[in-house]
Amino acid sequence: MTFRWAMLAPVLTITGVAVGFPLGYALYLSLTDYRLTSRGAPDFVGLDNYFFVLTDPRMWNAFSNTAIYVIVAVALQTVLGLAIALALQKQKWARDLTRAMLLAPMFITPIAVGLTFRFLLNDQLGAIPAALRTIGISYDFFGPSNALVTLAFIDVWQWTPFMVLLLLAGLESIPRQPLEAARVDGASAWYTFRRVVLPLLTPVLTVAILLRSLDALKVFEYVYATTRGGPGTATETIQYFTYQTGIQFFRLGEASAVAFVLLAIVMTLIVILFRRLQRSAAR
C-alpha cells in the first residue's frame, strides 16, 4: 500500500541517514586498519580487527564488567522502581509534588551526576561516608571490589525514576477488575501481587527492563567521572574501553569491531527475548 510507505518515508529516510549511514560506515571501518591519526585511505584488513578484539582479554573483561553492571543496576532499579511505583500509586497526599521530585534525577546530564557522586562518596570530603562514620561504618565505595557496584548505585539513583515512570504507567493501566476479583476471591495482598499484578505487569516490565538495559549498556560518564576504569580494570566498561581504543589510542577500526561485537550480542539477546515474548503472548 503506497500510503503506508509514504507515511513511513520520513522515518526511514532520517534513520537511513542518521543511523544507517554511520552504522554502515562504522562497519566498513571495522574491516580496516583505520587510525584517527592516519589521513589517507585505510587498508582493508578483513576480519583481523574482529580476531584481535575477540581474543583480547581486556575486551572480555569489559564485557563482563558491563554485564555485571547492567544486571545489578537494572535489577535494583526494577525492584525499587516497582516498590516505589506501587507506593506512589496508592499515595494520595502531595501526589504531583512527590512525583515531580522523584523524577528529577533523570533530567541531570550524567557526567554531572557522576561528578556529584564522586564527591558525595569521597571518604574524606564527602557527606555520605561522613554520615556513615557517625554510625561507625567505614566503606570503601571505590575500592577494588566495590567500585563497580558503586557505579551501579549511581545508575540506580539517576534512572530508577525512569522505571518508576514506566511502571507507574503500567500499574495504572492494569484493569481494576481482576484485582478486585482477587480480593473477593480471598487472596492476600502478597498473593494478589505475585499471582495477578506481576503477571499482568510483565509486558510493561519487559519493555522497561529492555529500555533500561540498552541504556545502561552505554555506561560511560560515571566511569569517566569517578574511576576511569579502575582500580585495576575493575570498572572498565565496554563503552569506556571503546572510547579509549577509538579516541584516546586512535584505533578506530578496532573500536568499531568492538562495537559490532556488542551489537551482535545485544541483537541476539533481543531476538531471543522477542521470540519468547511472542510465544508467551500467543499462549
Binding site: E180, A181, R183, G186
Partner: protein, 353 residues
C-alpha cells in the same frame, strides 16, 4: 448460606450521597435482584456488601455478623463481575481454582476441584484455554465457576449477563438460576434490565437515586407498582403514562385524547398508567388516536399511536394487523382491572377503590 441485611446503609463520595439510608433484607437462600436505572447506586451497594467500597454509614450484616470493617476475603462472599474480571494470564482451570489456591489449598486438590466444577459447567474441554480464546458465554461460565468453587455464604452478581448477546443472555440467565437453586446460596443480583429482574428474582428491589423505590415479588411489583417511576421502569414495552381527568368512564387528556376506562371513579387531575398489553384498540374512524408506526415482533406487534400530543403504545396480536395499518384511526380502551392511577403531585400510586 446466610441472611444478608442492610441497615440504614449510606455511601458518600465527598459531599455527594450515592446510597442513602438503604434498608434491605435478603433472606437466606433467596435470589434477590437489585434493579434500577443506570447510576442509581446498585453496583455501589453490591460493592459495599463485597467489601470493595467503604461504608459511610449504617451496617451491613452477613449471617448476623456486622461486616463493616472486614476485608473482602474475610466476608465469605463470591462475586461475578459485569465484565467477568477473569485473570487474563491464567487458564480456565487456574481461573476457577484461584480462590482455592489463594486460601492455601494444595495445588493438586484445587485443580481437581476446579476440574469438577468446570465439568459441571460444561467447560470440561476448554480448561487449558486462556480467557481471550473463549466466547462471551464461556467466559461468563468461568466467572461463575470461580464464584461457586468456594461454596461461599453469599453470591454477588453485578450485571453478569450484560455483555452477552440477546440469545446467549436468555440461555445463561436460565443456567444461572438453576445453579443458584441447586446450591441454595443466598444471591444478590444487580441489573439495569428489568426483564432480567422480572424473570430471575424471588424478590426484586427497585432502586432510584440511591434509595429503595419498591421491594417485593416481581409479579407483585409488575401488578401494583407503587409509583410512576416503578411503573414505567418495570415492564416492556414500558407502561403508557398520561395526565388528565376521569369522568363518566372515560379518561380525557388536556390535548383531547380519550381512553375508555370502565368502573373508574371520577377524578379531576390524575396520572393514568396502562400497560401496552392492556391498551385495547378498535379501528374506528371517530377514534381520538391514529396509528403512527407498527413494529412487528413475530406473533405480536407493537403499535405506536399518536393520541393528542401523547405517544402511546399498544401490543396487539399479529393477526389483527390486517385491520390496523399506519394512519388508521382507533378508539382506545383500558382492559378492565388493568388501570393504574397515580397522584399527579407525588406520583405515588393512589389507593385502590
Amino acid at each position: 448460606m446466610a441472611e444478608v441485611r442492610f441497615n440504614k446503609v449510606r455511601k458518600e463520595y465527598g459531599s455527594t450521597v450515592i446510597v442513602d439510608d438503604v434498608d434491605i433484607v435478603f433472606p437466606d437462600g433467596s435470589l434477590t435482584v437489585l434493579v434500577g436505572p443506570s447510576g442509581c447506586g446498585k453496583s455501589t451497594s453490591l460493592r459495599m456488601l463485597a467489601g470493595l467500597e467503604e461504608i459511610s454509614g449504617g451496617e451491613i450484616l452477613i449471617g448476623g455478623r456486622v461486616v463493616n470493617g472486614l476485608e473482602p476475603k474475610d466476608r465469605d462472599v463470591a462475586m461475578v463481575f459485569q465484565n467477568y474480571a477473569l485473570y487474563p494470564h491464567l487458564s480456565v482451570l487456574e481461573n476457577i481454582a484461584f480462590p482455592l489456591r489463594a486460601t492455601k489449598s494444595r495445588r493438586a486438590d484445587a485443580l481437581r476441584r476446579a476440574q469438577e466444577v468446570a465439568d459441571s459447567l460444561g467447560l470440561g474441554a476448554l480448561t487449558s484455554r486462556k480467557p481471550k480464546d473463549l466466547s462471551g458465554g464461556q467466559q461468563q461460565r468461568v466467572a461463575i465457576g470461580r464464584a461457586i468453587i468456594r461454596q461461599p455464604a453469599v453470591f454477588l452478581f453485578d450485571e453478569p449477563l450484560s455483555n452477552l448477546d440477546a440469545k446467549l443472555r436468555v440461555e445463561t440467565r436460565f443456567e444461572l438460576m438453576q445453579i443458584q437453586r441447586r446450591l441454595g446460596i443466598t444471591a444478590v443480583y444487580v441489573t439495569h434490565d428489568q426483564e432480567e429482574a422480572m424473570t430471575m428474582s424471588d424478590r426484586m428491589v427497585v432502586m432510584r437515586d440511591g434509595r429503595v423505590a419498591q421491594t417485593g415479588r416481581p409479579d407483585e411489583i409488575y401488578a401494583r407498582p407503587n409509583s410512576v417511576f416503578v411503573a414505567t421502569f418495570v415492564g416492556s414495552p414500558k407502561m403508557n403514562i398520561v395526565r388528565g381527568a376521569i369522568s363518566d368512564g372515560a379518561f380525557i387528556s388536556p390535548t383531547g385524547s380519550r381512553l375508555a376506562v370502565a368502573q373508574a371513579p371520577a377524578r379531576d387531575a390524575v396520572v393514568l398508567g396502562v400497560r401496552p398489553d392492556d391498551l385495547l384498540l378498535t379501528a374506528n374512524s371517530g377514534g381520538t388516536a391514529r396509528v403512527a408506526l407498527i413494529e412487528l415482533l413475530g406473533p405480536r406487534a407493537i403499535v405506536h399511536l399518536d393520541a393528542g400530543e401523547d405517544r402511546l403504545t399498544s401490543v396487539v396480536e399479529a393477526d389483527r394487523l390486517s385491520e390496523l395499518t399506519v394512519g388508521t384511526s382507533v378508539a382506545l380502551a383500558v382492559r378492565p382491572g388493568a388501570l393504574h392511577l397515580f397522584d399527579p403531585q407525588t406520583e405515588h400510586r393512589l389507593p385502590e377503590v
